[in-house]
Subunit: 339 residues, 2 copies
DNA sequence: AGTGTCCACTAAACCGGTTTTCTAAACCGG
DNA sequence: CCGGTTTAGAAAACCGGTTTAGTGGACACT
């Protein structure tokens, strides 16, 4: 039998007599033969895989509930459309190297600010890409949420409850050693906080902003650091739920009760937020939906290459008030008033 | 320039005069050229990616904290060794189809019992594979934990506290519609529970075993179902932490306090277990480590093809007593004694 | 019987690289 | 000045398939 016949037997059995076709297949799985998947990809010129690009190491990614929820959305949409998922993250520290080797038809990039050189690399490689949580590249589709508005809502909530000594627990970017500028997300949230606090006559001085890794431990350490520094906030604005929960843990260890002594407001509304005690007041953002929409946009772009206008999606955020926030403690309130 | 020269410029620059090499590269990234990654794979005959094979849809996978932790372990080990990760899950319901197209050098299969036809397919395709949570295929490496021992410890703990009306909340396999037999894991844990209960003179009748999806919602529904059926347990043995937490939620809605009215013991010890209130008594298993070891074994097998004895790893479990379990309520205890 | 269609299958080109082998010029010592 | 060794680059084979363009025989029709 020619290899043409074998190929037909697998992909185009109508072009063979049904007899030979079945015979070929029989022999094939008797021999444990399968068409080499890589060779197929080469001729078919598409891999039916989508890349999920992150500047962070995979191991930290999977332990991040935010990312898990986002991946769930991406996976859901990709699966529905028949695509597989391939995670692209730095190889030996180089994201560029990982991109070079990536065998994907398109890329969803999350947490990648526009200034990364990799995005240029991806475009010049001709890979369709959509950015999530960053829209500073107008020529690429993007999905963002209203971070600033959500942050404003969180800050307003605390101001209305009478808080004036507010600690901001910020997320630092993971590669902050080499690049200390905050990510776009952190910047936008901080801007939201600041707008409201300034309007309320509260001066957000730098020492009231502490940063750390966006994890429970990171939040715990950040709050402890602020406390050790002498800060005595009545409320915390945390840029992620994980950090908020970490702050609550640290506060509890210091003997503070929530929300009686300390109000905490998070950001993201991960599943865990509703499960902790007290349940976390937080800003909800449609994380899963971001994943779904990103894939939807990506496929639209892939289908009509060199296509129309890039689309920029902006999803809403909203404050969810739960048990972790309450009125400012009365004696503190008086102290504030007297000053 | 010949394409040979271009190839050398990228992979083997020493074979060109440094002058031409740099010139080629300049022209290349001026033109936005990159060596086609798929074509490379074809000649190099390895993809440097590892497959993570699951019989469940990706979307459900990522929302599962157990799987997240496992993936973290896999990712950590893979990354360290320079491998990428590709998730293999059913395509249009067919896991076999997904395996056929998978461009990976090896496979870590989790939650795949030995009776799946796919494992045979994978072997005949010549792909190295290690099984996690299943060891009924002696010719493949495997990583398991002592599920039965852990289950025994959990049951003993409750028996020692005086409980006799114990509800078992079991995980059903996700494709239970087509295949109602429990997975190996559920089987082993159930065996552990039963051993201890029987020895204590407690007859675990079928209606005291309720099954559901291995999620918080699944656990909640399962407990509600049992309650509606008229069962009034003083303790719950849940086969996963998520289901344990769901049961606690259901119980709280029914007005029960934990551990005063109801003791709950989970399984897995996911991060969340320590964070809920009351903190969950549970059986710890080294989930992350399972991922690391699976990759380690896989690479060992890949390096020395057709190699030595397949290795079978068995990791320990241990009971972690937290706040969700306590002595049986006294009046119930009396009722029991009188009967 | 001659010829036009179909049918079942095959030869050859191609996908886009890598790798081995080859060639021609430069270099070298005696 | 000549044979032998480097050196820079090119030609050709190969990876393992898919796809296009044949090819030869069976069959039908006139």
């Amino acid at each position: 039998m020619s290899k043409t016949a074998v190929s037909f037997a697998f992909n185009n059995p109508d072009r063979l007599s049904s007899e030979t076709a079945t015979r070929i297949r029989e022999v094939a799985d008797h021999l444990g033969y399968r068409p080499h998947p890589v060779a197929r990809l080469l001729t078919q010129r598409q891999t039916m895989t989508l890349g999920v690009l992150t500047p962070q190491a995979l191991a930290v990614i999977f332990s991040n509930p935010f990312f898990a929820l986002f991946s769930e959305g991406v996976a859901h949409a990709a699966e529905e459309l028949g695509y597989e998922l391939h995670f692209i993250s730095p190889r030996n520290g180089s994201l560029a190297a990982a991109v070079r080797r990536a065998t994907v038809d398109g890329v969803v990039a999350i947490g990648l600010s526009g200034d990364h050189p990799e995005v240029e690399q991806i475009r010049s490689a001709g890979l369709p890409m959509v950015l999530v949580d960053s829209e500073d590249l107008p020529e690429h589709c993007s999905v963002v949420v209203d971070d600033e508005g959500g942050a404003r809502a969180a800050a307003e909530h605390l101001v209305e409850l009478g808080h004036r000594d507010i600690l901001v627990v910020a997320v630092e970017r993971p590669d902050s050693a080499t690049d200390p500028s905050p990510t776009g997300v952190a910047e936008r949230r901080l801007r939201g906080y600041r707008t409201v606090l300034t309007a309320a006559g509260i001066d957000l001085s730098p020492e009231w902003i502490v940063a750390g890794r966006a994890s429970i431990d990171g939040g715990e350490a950040a709050f402890q650091r602020a406390w050790a520094y002498g800060l005595r906030p009545t409320a915390v604005l945390a840029m992620s739920d994980a950090m908020a929960i970490g702050s609550m843990r640290a506060a509890r260890q210091l003997g503070l009760r929530m929300p009686a002594d300390l109000s905490v407001v998070g950001f993201d509304d991960i599943d865990l937020a509703a499960l902790v005690d007290p349940a976390l007041t937080t800003v909800h953002q449609p994380i899963r939906q971001k994943g779904v929409d990103a894939v939807r946009l990506l496929l639209a772009e892939m289908e009509q290459r060199s296509g129309i206008q890039p689309e920029h999606l902006r999803l809403e955020t909203r404050l969810i008030v739960r048990g972790s926030s309450g009125p400012v403690p009365s004696q503190r309130q008086e102290v504030q008033r007297q000053v």
